[in-house]
Structures are given as structure tokens and as C-alpha cells.
């Protein structure tokens, strides 16, 4: 389970996150939406212990992220938005490295590593250095690293980024099944269609504050729009798309 209470983070005068109350229950895939700079990545970084909140509290799998960060980290699998990798390692070595950080015994680590490499069709490339991997292959390695210790909670920031259609299908199916097993999943993405199809509930944030929560249908109904896309635009303050683009093109011509 993930829970936050009045979670806030500021960078000097800039309030990146304000009074965020969030609950993600076991078995749920929560779609976490917001425009660029809304505070999604800040929330995710607080939940994973990469940064500390300015105020408020957050619990992951029942543990406070500030007071007991190590307990939290034992239970989460994380896919960052822009994951850097140790490029001198091979895929196999990287997964062994992560398994060691999670204190998996050698036997379990080896078995899971083989299974994950097989799942993501990376077995043949397992001995290749990550420096030589394509963006999609690197994303597969990051997903494998997030799953190798069988975490209770998954925190995923654009997990399908760079994946080919077949692998994306596998990941979506895998996440649904993991939710079915009772895992808690926070799914942050800009691709509304995927969020709408995958997530049991959606939270939209804007300027660091929650502006809507519920199922896709509930949000559409609440905003009196016809689709999640329209609802998102309405809630996050985008002006009329047609008008904005026409104005811009006109200004280009004038210049």
C-alpha cells in the first residue's frame, strides 16, 4: 500500500508539491497523471527515498519513507523516467549487482535473472555491455531490475517508454497479473490511452496539488466532458487547442 498525508516539497520559493493526499491500495493500479512540472516525478522520488519531503508524511508498504527508508526500499521496484545505467556492466552483471544490493541469495538471483532475461527476450544479449544496448533494450533491463526482488510495491515512471509493441503488451499484461496477486502499483505516464486501459483508478495533479481522483468514467462524469483526454485538458487548464495552435501559426507568419 502507498499512502501520503499532506505531502509537500519545495525547492527554495518553488512549491513543487503541496498537500498531496494519496492512497494506492494492494491490488490496485493507480494512474498518476499531470502535465509537465505538475509534481509527479517529485512525488515518485519522495516515495522511493531519492529525496526528502519538506513536510507531510508518506508510507510505502506500511513503512514511513523518511523514518524507515531502508524498509521501504526493500519492498519497492522502481522504474525512473530517465534511467541511467552503469554502461560498463553487462545486462547479466547489472542484474546480479541489483540482486546483491537486495541481498538475494545466489541461487534465487540466478534463477530470476534467467527468467527475466527470457521474459524480455534478452538472453542472447545478456553478455553484452549496456553501453551497446538500444533505448528499448535498456528499458527492458531497468524493468528486470525493478522486478528481480519480487517487490510488494511497484513505482513506475513511464515504464513503456522505448519498448516495442510486443514487449509493451507483455509488460501491461504482467502488471495486470501482478495487481491481481495483490501488488500495489503506481503508474505514472503521459499516455492517457494506456492509463485509461490499464489503471483501476486515476489521480490527476496540477501545480503540485491533486485536482481529480476516481475511475476514468468518474473523472469524465465529474468534469462533464466526453473523454479522459478532454477531462485532463479541462482540469489542467489548457486553453482551446484549436485556437492556441492557430494563434501560434499566425505569429510565425507575422515574424
Amino acid at each position: 500500500m502507498i499512502r501520503t498525508e499532506a505531502l509537500a516539497k519545495s525547492y527554495g520559493d518553488v512549491q513543487a508539491l503541496a498537500d498531496l493526499d494519496l492512497v494506492v491500495s494492494p491490488g490496485e493500479i493507480l494512474g498518476f497523471l499531470g502535465p509537465n512540472g505538475a509534481g509527479k516525478s517529485t512525488t515518485v522520488k519522495i516515495l522511493t527515498g531519492l529525496i526528502r519531503p519538506t513536510s507531510g508524511r508518506a508510507w510505502v508498504a506500511g513503512f514511513d519513507v523518511v523514518d524507515t527508508p531502508v524498509e521501504v526500499k526493500k519492498r519497492i521496484g522502481y522504474v525512473p523516467e530517465t534511467p541511467a545505467l552503469y554502461e560498463s556492466l553487462t545486462a547479466e552483471e547489472y542484474l546480479e549487482f541489483v540482486a546483491c544490493l537486495h541481498h538475494l541469495d545466489a541461487g534465487t538471483a540466478a534463477t530470476r535473472r534467467a527468467e527475466l532475461l527470457d521474459l524480455f527476450s534478452l538472453t542472447e544479449e545478456a553478455g553484452g555491455r549496456l553501453a551497446t544496448f538500444s533505448k528499448g533494450m535498456r528499458q527492458k533491463v531497468v524493468l528486470s531490475a525493478a522486478l528481480i526482488h519480487n517487490p510488494e510495491v511497484l513505482i513506475l515512471d513511464e515504464p513503456l517508454d522505448g519498448l516495442d509493441a510486443n514487449t509493451a503488451l507483455i509488460v501491461k499484461e504482467l502488471l495486470k497479473k501482478m495487481a491481481g496477486q495483490g501488488k500495489t502499483i503506481l503508474f505514472s505516464s503521459h499516455i492517457l490511452e494506456v492509463v485509461e486501459r490499464m489503471c483501476t483508478r486515476i489521480v490527476i495533479i496540477q501545480n503540485g496539488r491533486q485536482v481529480a481522483a476516481g475511475t476514468s468514467a468518474e473523472i469524465v462524469h465529474l468534469t462533464q466532458t466526453r473523454s479522459l483526454e478532454e477531462a485532463f485538458s479541462k482540469l489542467t487548464g489548457v486553453r482551446d487547442v484549436g485556437q492556441v495552435t492557430a494563434e501560434f501559426l499566425a505569429s510565425l507568419d507575422r515574424a
Binding site: 519497492i76 546480479e96 541489483v98 546483491c100 544490493l101
Partner: protein, 536 residues
């Protein structure tokens, strides 16, 4: 200004904005989660201001008794040129040959002329700043002592010498890039880095020797044709001419320095037409397709958990990341050099007694004392620092990670290095017992220094960016400190090694200190390390 730049094919507006942006980025320091670390650039600048001014003060004090103005100017210009050369080799090679900026600018309408000129300007601005920081004290002292004319000549000589050094280094990089092509340039630069490190440490020794021998000869210099082969003497000749004691030879040397400066400028302007930016672009697309060399094999000593994770990472980086590899291996030529220098003193080979081993090879002791700090610096600062997010989100015990990193360094690098050095020393000394004793003391002391450096600055492996401009400054600071430590050691060891009880007591104290520091580290570093934040 526009017209002047246009004549040599440079877009003035673009050049200005590129140069200004590069300086702004350097001043602000490395990016972090918060966008940037406020003041990190200022802090590193403050460190450099203090360090280089202190070095300048040191030189000014050293030169105070020198009556021969020309000799004083040669020493000052030599030191300044050596310092600029080192910085260009260790800190600014990326400014000239790194393709990173090309990823951002490559598809913009910036010509290779403008692009190269902006990079060149960046190097020259740093050169000027560094020269100013280093030389202001000696120049001020010279002006007060000998008048404005001599002061101005010293200033001109020092700045011209620095500029010539920087331009020569840039010309060398451009030549390497052109001669070797994109595919081999990275490897060539790596070996150049190793060679330059050797040169830096060797240079430190050489300069110390020059000062010592100069002091022995009561600061007198024989003026001969050798001055033609000594570039600092060309630039220092301005001072001799200004003092009125210069002959035709000094005039010729001054003219030679001006010709060299102009030639370098013209040569570099000529290089601007060689599609420099495109070659950098080719460096990026050449890629790194060499087969993986498995690091895991070297990690067999460490069974699991944080130790194995760190060992895996360190070994892979060592086998595949040439920068890290060279950072570690830089110690070997330096040690060899110091061993040979120790032998050249003629006091050591085959004649060592238990008393003189520390005194006769202080530079070898210096190398052994320096090694842990060099290792730690290479381990923490890396181009791969952005990948450390995985360490920050993992449930690993950070204090244990730090101690594991320290243990991996000791077991995989420090112990083998001390053993190899020991074998070489035994070969030179023919005195196994004495060498073993010395190595035990030095080994314990080295380990203690590694612990102290971890206590002062606990950092996770490969988690911090490489600070531009600080590598050479750190090396200078480290070399000076280790030099002091080695000198103290050379003075103290005869009384320690003279008595078995003193040796036992020293080893006992060092071991006890190691244990106490280890306990302290568990407590303090754990707390400190828990507060570390990801900088990617």
C-alpha cells in the same frame, strides 16, 4: 568586432553566446535533482582561489632570496607553464575533444569555426584566470621589490608563457584528433592521460629537485646556449631585458617567444578549417562496440550483499572504463619513477640498514601514501554518476556500502600494489626483513589515510560528477600534503626503525587507530551517508 570575426569565418554573436553559456554552466556546477546544487560552482571556485594563491605565495617566498632576476623569472614562468599544462591535460581535454556538446549543438546552424573558437576561448579564459590566481602574489612582490617596469615584464612573461602552453596543448589535441581519427581518439586520450599523470608527478619531483639544486648553488645560474632549449627562459627573458642586463641572446629569446605565440595562433586558425565539429560528430557515431570484458571474475573474493555488488561494479568499471582504469594505474609509472629516482641518489641499493629505508626513499613512501586518496577520488567521481540512482533506491546499508567500497579498494588494489612495490624494493635493497617492516608501517598508514578520507567525505561509489577544473587542483593539493607527510616520515622513521620496541609500538598504535576509526566510521558515516542525495 563583427567584421574582425567574420574575416576569420567566426560568427561573433554565436561565439559570444556559446562562450558565455559554457562559463555559466561551469560556474553553476553540476546539475542535481533540484536542478542544480546552489553554490557548488562557487565553492569549487573558492577552493581554487585559495589553493592557487597559496601556491603563488609559496613560490614568492621561495624566490625571495634569489638575486638573479632572470633565474627567478625562469622558475616562476616554469611553474606557471607546468601548472597550465597539467590543467590542460587533466581538466580541459574534454573542453577541446569531448563530443558531448556536439549532441546538443551538432544539428544547430553553428559552423565548425565558431564552435572551435568558442571552445578555445573557454580554455584561454580558464588559463588566464588560473595564471592570475597563481601569479598575482609573486608579481606583486616583484613589483614592490624591483619597480613597475620589472613587474610589468614579469606579468607579460608569465601570461605569454601560460597562453603559449595552453595553445600548444590545444594544437596537440587537435593534431591527435586529426591524425588518429574518431575511432582511436578515445583510447589515445586515455593513454595520454596516463602519460600526463606520470608527467605531473615526475614534474613535481623535477621541480623540487630544481629548487633544491638551485638552493645548493646559492641561486646562481650559468647562462649558456641551453636557454634556447628551455621555453620558460624565452618568456622570462622579458624580465632580463627590462632590468637592462639582457644581451643579444635574451633579445633573441624574447623574439623567439613572440614568434612561437604568433605561429601557434596562425596554426590553430589554420586548423579551424578542418571540419573539426564533423570529426567530433564522427567520434559519437563511431560508438563503443568493443566486446564486454567480464568484471565478475575479479569479484570472486566477495560472496554476496553490498561487498559483492561493489566488487562487481568496481571490477567492471576497471576493466571497461578506461578513465577509471587510468586513474588507478597512474600510480604505477609514478612509483617506478620514484624508485628509480631513489636509486639515483646512490644511497640505497644493496646498502640499506633498518634506519635509512624511510629516509632514502621518501618519494616511494609518498607514492604509497598518495595511492589510497587517488583510488578514492577515482572511485567516487565518475562520468557514470547518473547511474547511481539504483544504489540510492536500493535497501542497502550505506555505511556497509562505504566500508565495502573501502575493503574492495584495499584488497583488489592497495594490497597488490604494496606487494609489487615491496618486491621491487627487495630487489633494490636485498634486505627482506627491513622492507617487510617498512611496508607494514606504510601499509597501515595508507589504510588509515583511506579511513580518514572516507570519514571526512563519505561518498558512495561512482556517485559524484567529475568537477571540471578541480582534478589538477586536487592533485596539486594532494601532492603537497603527501610531500609534507613523506618528509615527516623520512625524519621520524630512523628513530622508529632503530628499535624493535618502537616498531612494535608504532604498528600497535596504527592498528589500534584503524580499529577505533572503523568503529567511529560505523557510527558517524552511517548517519552521514543516510543523508546523501542522488546528484543525477
Amino acid at each position: 568586432m563583427n567584421a574582425l570575426f567574420e574575416r576569420i569565418g567566426i560568427d561573433y554573436e554565436q561565439w559570444k553566446v556559446l562562450t558565455r553559456t559554457a562559463l555559466k554552466i561551469d560556474f553553476r556546477g553540476a546539475p542535481s535533482l533540484q536542478g542544480r546544487r546552489p553554490g557548488s560552482g562557487r565553492r569549487s571556485m573558492f577552493f581554487q582561489v585559495v589553493l592557487y594563491s597559496a601556491m603563488g605565495l609559496f613560490i614568492a617566498i621561495l624566490l625571495a632570496p634569489v638575486r638573479d632576476l632572470y633565474l627567478a623569472a625562469i622558475i616562476l614562468v616554469s611553474y606557471s607553464m607546468f601548472m597550465i599544462g597539467t590543467a590542460a591535460l587533466l581538466d580541459y581535454n574534454a573542453t577541446i575533444v569531448s563530443p558531448d556538446d556536439y549532441a546538443i549543438l551538432g544539428y544547430r546552424p553553428v559552423s565548425s569555426h565558431t564552435y572551435f573558437a568558442a571552445r578555445l576561448a573557454n580554455v584561454l579564459i580558464y588559463t588566464t584566470a588560473m595564471t592570475t590566481l597563481f601569479a598575482w602574489v609573486p608579481i606583486a612582490v616583484t613589483t614592490v621589490k624591483h619597480g613597475v617596469g620589472i613587474g610589468l615584464a614579469t606579468l607579460a612573461g608569465v601570461y605569454a608563457g601560460s597562453a603559449a602552453t595552453a595553445l600548444s596543448m590545444v594544437a596537440m589535441y587537435v593534431w591527435i584528433l586529426r591524425a588518429l581519427g574518431p575511432r582511436r581518439i578515445k583510447l589515445a586520450l586515455t593513454y595520454l592521460q596516463l602519460a600526463s599523470s606520470t608527467l605531473v608527478y615526475g614534474g613535481y619531483f623535477l621541480i623540487t629537485r630544481v629548487f633544491t639544486s638551485a638552493a645548493r648553488s646559492v641561486w646562481e645560474m650559468h647562462r649558456g646556449t641551453w636557454l634556447v632549449a628551455c621555453p620558460p627562459a624565452w618568456f622570462a627573458s622579458y624580465v632580463d631585458l627590462a632590468s637592462g642586463s639582457g644581451s643579444r641572446r635574451e633579445l633573441a629569446l624574447a623574439l623567439l617567444s613572440i614568434v612561437v605565440l604568433i605561429a601557434l595562433g596562425v596554426a590553430l586558425l589554420g586548423r579551424l578549417s578542418m571540419n573539426y565539429a564533423e570529426e567530433l560528430g564522427a567520434m559519437m557515431t563511431a560508438g563503443d562496440r568493443k566486446p564486454a570484458r567480464h568484471g565478475g571474475r575479479g569479484a570472486w573474493l566477495f560472496r554476496g550483499g553490498e561487498s559483492r555488488a561493489v566488487a562487481l561494479l568496481v571490477w567492471s568499471q576497471f576493466r571497461n572504463d578506461t578513465k577509471f582504469q587510468m586513474g588507478v594505474l597512474a600510480i604505477l609509472p609514478m612509483t617506478l619513477l620514484y624508485l628509480i629516482m631513489g636509486l639515483r641518489q646512490g644511497e640505497t641499493a644493496g646498502s640499506a640498514t633498518i634506519r635509512d629505508i624511510g629516509r632514502s626513499m621518501p618519494l616511494v613512501s609518498l607514492a604509497m601514501l598518495l595511492f589510497p586518496s587517488m583510488l578514492k577520488s577515482s572511485l567516487v567521481r565518475s562520468d557514470a554518476f547518473r547511474a547511481s540512482w539504483i544504489v540510492f533506491v536500493s535497501p542497502s546499508d550505506r555505511a556497509r556500502l562505504l566500508r565495502s567500497a573501502q575493503n574492495v579498494l584495499v584488497i583488489t588494489f592497495l594490497v597488490p600494489y604494496i606487494l609489487v612495490t615491496g618486491v621491487a624494493m627487495v630487489w633494490f635493497y636485498h634486505e627482506v626483513r627491513t622492507v617487510v617492516l617498512h611496508l607494514i608501517v606504510i601499509g597501515l598508514l595508507s589504510h588509515l589515510l583511506l579511513q580518514v578520507s572516507t570519514l571526512i567525505e563519505p561518498e558512495l561509489p561512482f556517485s559524484k560528477p567529475i568537477d571540471k577544473g578541480l582534478s589538477s587542483a586536487r592533485i596539486f593539493a594532494l601532492t603537497m600534503l603527501a610531500g609534507v607527510a613523506a618528509t615527516v616520515l623520512a625524519l621520524v622513521t630512523p628513530s622508529i626503525y632503530g628499535r624493535t620496541s618502537a616498531v612494535l609500538l608504532t604498528c600497535g598504535v596504527l592498528t589500534a587507530s584503524t580499529i577505533v576509526l572503523d568503529r567511529w566510521m560505523r557510527l558517524r558515516v552511517g548517519r552521514e551517508a543516510a543523508g546523501l542525495e542522488f546528484l543525477g
